[in-house]
Symmetry: none
């Protein structure tokens, strides 16, 4: 016994932890392993994407040495170590379920509750960050212009995104912009939308799994030449075909639930932007 393998007690499951570990062990490492440690911190992307053979060649070591490196840190093998680098690129929590399970066993209930909260908070933060990169300013401007020209704005959204559209109703009301929430009570959606004309506009939101009502009502409106502004999560959304302008928002999830933070931020920007544009002209 007493081999080189670590006692596998504190294996870092995220990149920061790994970096700290590597730095602290740096001095005590044999030549090739130190070489790999340096390479890993310098080229985390290669570590995330490469194969053992490829990375080994780049780093100037043997494939087996890479596996040894991973094991000496306490990981099962190279694949396990690589997961850390992949998670980092994904900006996701490392194996969150595992972590939650561990917390539940070791400490009290409130720790678990806190980490649930942390999970949803994190998902929200990621969504916001991603949206900053994905929404194109020109499209946003076009959407605002379309809504600003409208006489009345009809708000369309069901199920998961209903809260967003409900908030739009609140915000437009506060801003003095005439907007009508199509809540589809008593299945009266079509009737609620029937009076929309080409001088109005529809703001429709829908994410997977796309609620059929939303797409149907938006299509019906588009048919009658009512301008449609859509917020959705993919170019394949049924809303896209009928939309004059569409904005893409990909929300991050935690467990089975997706965030709505980015959608809210976007909806608010649309609402305020519309109100300001109207005030101008």
């Amino acid at each position: 016994m007493g081999s080189a393998e670590a006692v596998a007690t504190d294996i870092p499951e995220d990149f920061d932890g790994l970096r700290t570990l590597l730095l602290s062990r740096r001095e005590a490492m044999p030549k090739r392993l130190k070489q790999i440690a340096a390479f890993a911190l310098e080229h985390p992307e290669d570590m995330a994407f490469g194969t053992v053979a490829g990375i080994a060649e780049h780093a100037g070591v043997q494939p087996s040495t890479l596996v040894r490196f991973a094991k000496s840190l306490g990981y099962d093998g190279f694949s396990h170590l690589q997961q850390i680098f992949r998670d980092r690129l994904r900006e996701r929590f490392p194996d969150y379920r595992e972590r939650l399970r561990g917390l539940r066993d070791s400490e009290g209930h409130h720790v678990h509750a806190a980490s649930l909260l942390e999970g949803f908070t994190h998902a929200a933060a990621i969504s916001l960050e991603r949206m900053q990169a994905s929404v194109r300013p020109e499209e946003l401007s076009r959407a605002i212009e379309t809504l600003a020209k409208a006489d009345t704005i009809y708000l369309l959204g069901a199920r998961r995104v209903f809260p967003v559209i409900a908030y739009c109703a609140y915000a437009f009301g506060k801003l003095g912009v005439r907007a009508i929430l199509i809540d589809h009570v008593g299945q009266l959606g079509p009737e609620q939308l029937a009076i929309a004309s080409k001088r109005d506009a529809v703001l429709a939101i829908s994410f997977t799994p796309y609620a059929p009502v939303t797409a149907d009502l938006a299509a019906a409106a588009a048919q009658r030449d009512v301008p449609v502004v859509a917020i959705t999560d993919s170019a394949f959304s049924p809303l896209v075909t009928n939309a004059d302008v569409w904005l893409e928002v990909a929300e991050a999830d935690f467990g089975a639930f997706r965030s709505l933070s980015a959608s809210f931020a976007l909806a608010m920007a649309l609402a305020v932007g519309t109100a300001e544009k109207r005030a101008e002209g």
Copy 2:
């Protein structure tokens, strides 16, 4: 010859090109391939990291269909296609900087629209960060325990926070927890809440300026010994006096509008925590 394979003349080598290609072919694609195309654009990260088997399962298709998909676009095989997704993740950071620079250079309206969006995004991020510090894990646990013990959960929230409570109705439903949304249609709030007993619970949310309905209905429920869990923004809130447990959330604002992000994250943590606790015992 003349098989289904594409003529391999214009294989996009970057993500944007691929996206454009997929969009242009969207209509002509058979069902499963379209399904994959949608999945690929929605979950580019999974495409980058996953294995054929894993991605196929997530997307709900057979592994062979994934390979066919890649080939139908002109790629050698799945691995070749996957490379596009990996390259995209590698270049994500420079891409983002480009975008910001472009933003600065472009014309006035777009900049303004973009900065509105940034403002709301920022407010949301700040709110999330603050909440992490202000919510005490023990209180959160107590709130979850209270809700978990309840037979039926009555959801109370009006005006600005109505979206949060509406989302709770959605989440609890998904999680199989009996919950009733007091939407106060036709001013029937008191009647909707009348059947709540001490074996149930009320989850009430209210922020300044506190909507009187919410406080009144919560007080009426508390009067009849229905446990009340409250989410509010200060110790001076009218909800506090009637609540058995209360959680404080201070949302940041941008312009006249406050974020709701932190409230959403908290509400989701409550919902999932409650469902888990019920599953345990």
